[in-house]
């Protein structure tokens, strides 16, 4: 089995880990973390496909590789937005729970008026 295939299988497992974490973890921050893990698995598959397209003296197909650079930067922007959203929710409600149940009564500061 050659190196690209090995990394491809590794990527499949990474996506699996990420998906499991995304479903199981109740905290939004852990979900973002798991989602990033899943994303890196997808990127790795893309890099494997690029590597398999090595030709014309290039180590890999430059088109998917360029796509990956774009993807990594956009993934960072999306994570930053997600983190900003959850921090705002925390400032507003004192909790970062996604649950609809009242749960262990989050402390609600009187922030409604100023927001």
């Amino acid at each position: 089995m050659n190196a690209p295939t090995l990394f491809g299988l590794c990527a499949a497992v990474l996506v699996g880990f990420g998906l499991y974490g995304l479903i199981v973890h109740p905290q939004p921050l852990r979900k973002v973390l798991s989602f990033n893990l899943m994303g890196s698995g997808v990127f790795l598959v893309c890099a494997v496909i690029a590597r398999r397209g090595a030709a014309a003296g290039m180590g890999g197909d430059p088109v998917p590789q360029a796509l990956l650079i774009t993807a990594i930067v956009v993934a960072f922007a999306a994570s930053a937005l997600a983190v900003a959203l959850m921090l705002r929710q925390f400032d507003e409600t004192g909790s970062s729970s996604l649950s609809n149940d009242p749960g262990p009564a989050p402390a609600k500061p009187a922030a409604k008026g100023e927001a």
Partner: protein
């Protein structure tokens, strides 16, 4: 790298990924994720994607790691409550089954990939000379698929607008982050005095060398952003109010130049983002130089989050 090294790398990657998912403490999970990101750069190198490795080290592991560590320390109080919400065994088993099925499907796809793989590399090699740059990735990013790169720069800007919109009314247009606390003799202040000049040179060098070798504006811009972040975190320099004109100008200058060159292409080369014969390289350099400061400011402010203090706050 030999196959044994690859196997060791894969084993480490999988172990760290597993840790990131199962660790009890969020902070431990984030620490695992940052090391995972750094190791992943080795995987990109093993797959001959050095440009991607640079981006991953700078943004995937570096900036994302800093972002998540910051969020973890802010949300530390919510950890205990979240543990009570942990789903029951049935959900976890179901999630494991779904995750395994998806992983198996992807693994099957990887094993069934056509051999030899389809590739655009010959086409890129054929047309590389017309762009005047020597690095095929830069040629794809700035010429063959320049539209993607332009939209990416704009997406970053939209992300930042989204984050700023989360500011509460009274801090709208104010300064992001906490008020700076300077510890003049601390190690952070020392590094913030010593490193930025070096980082500035490295960042600009990475941009310049990107024309012919691995590197480019995103990697260079991230190094510049890291230097500014170091200054901000050390407290030697306060974050600017986001309503300041120079901040807004710096943010839109890069994408605006990109769009302008694109529109120019309609008249001179007959296509949006088309470059006239012989002028491709100068135009690419104009766009990259304009994008570098914009990207550095955008990435820094993405990490700093929404405004949290009024403009006049010290």
């Amino acid at each position: 790298m030999s196959i044994a090294l690859h196997l060791a790398l894969i084993a480490l990657l999988l172990a760290l990924a597993f840790w990131t998912v199962v660790a009890r403490e969020t902070f431990a999970a984030v620490a695992g994720f940052v090391s995972y990101g750094l190791l992943l750069t080795l995987a990109w190198v093993a797959l001959s994607a050095v440009d991607v490795a640079l981006t991953e080290a700078a943004i995937g592991a570096g900036l994302t790691g800093a972002l998540l560590i910051g969020a973890t320390s802010r949300l530390r109080k919510t950890e205990a409550a979240a543990r009570a919400e942990r789903p029951g065994r049935a959900t976890r088993v179901l999630a494991a089954i779904v995750a395994t099925a998806v992983a198996a499907a992807i693994a099957a796809c990887v094993l069934l990939l056509p051999d030899p793989g389809p590739s655009l590399a010959p086409e890129v090699a054929q047309n590389l000379a017309s762009t005047g740059v020597g690095n095929p990735i830069t040629a794809v990013l700035m010429s063959f698929r320049a539209m993607d790169t332009m939209l990416e720069a704009i997406v970053l800007l939209f992300g930042l607008i989204g984050i700023w919109s989360l500011a509460s009314d009274r801090y709208w247009g104010g300064r992001p982050g906490l008020a700076p606390v300077v510890e003049p003799n601390g190690i952070l202040a020392y590094l913030a005095r010593v490193l930025p000049p070096i980082g500035l040179v490295v960042g600009i060098y990475i941009l310049w060398v990107g024309a012919d070798y691995p590197g480019g504006k995103f990697q260079g811009g991230t190094v510049l952003a890291a230097m500014w972040l170091l200054l901000l975190m050390s407290g030697l320099h306060d974050a600017p109010a986001v309503s300041q004109r120079w901040v807004r100008l710096a943010l839109v200058a890069g994408p605006a130049v990109f769009i302008l060159v694109g529109v120019l292409g309609v008249f001179v080369a007959g296509a949006f983002l088309g470059y006239p014969e012989g002028l491709a390289k100068p135009l690419i350099i104009v766009i990259e130089v304009a994008l570098l400061p914009s990207l550095a400011v955008t990435l820094t402010l993405l990490l700093m989050g929404p405004p949290q203090r009024s403009e006049s706050s010290p």
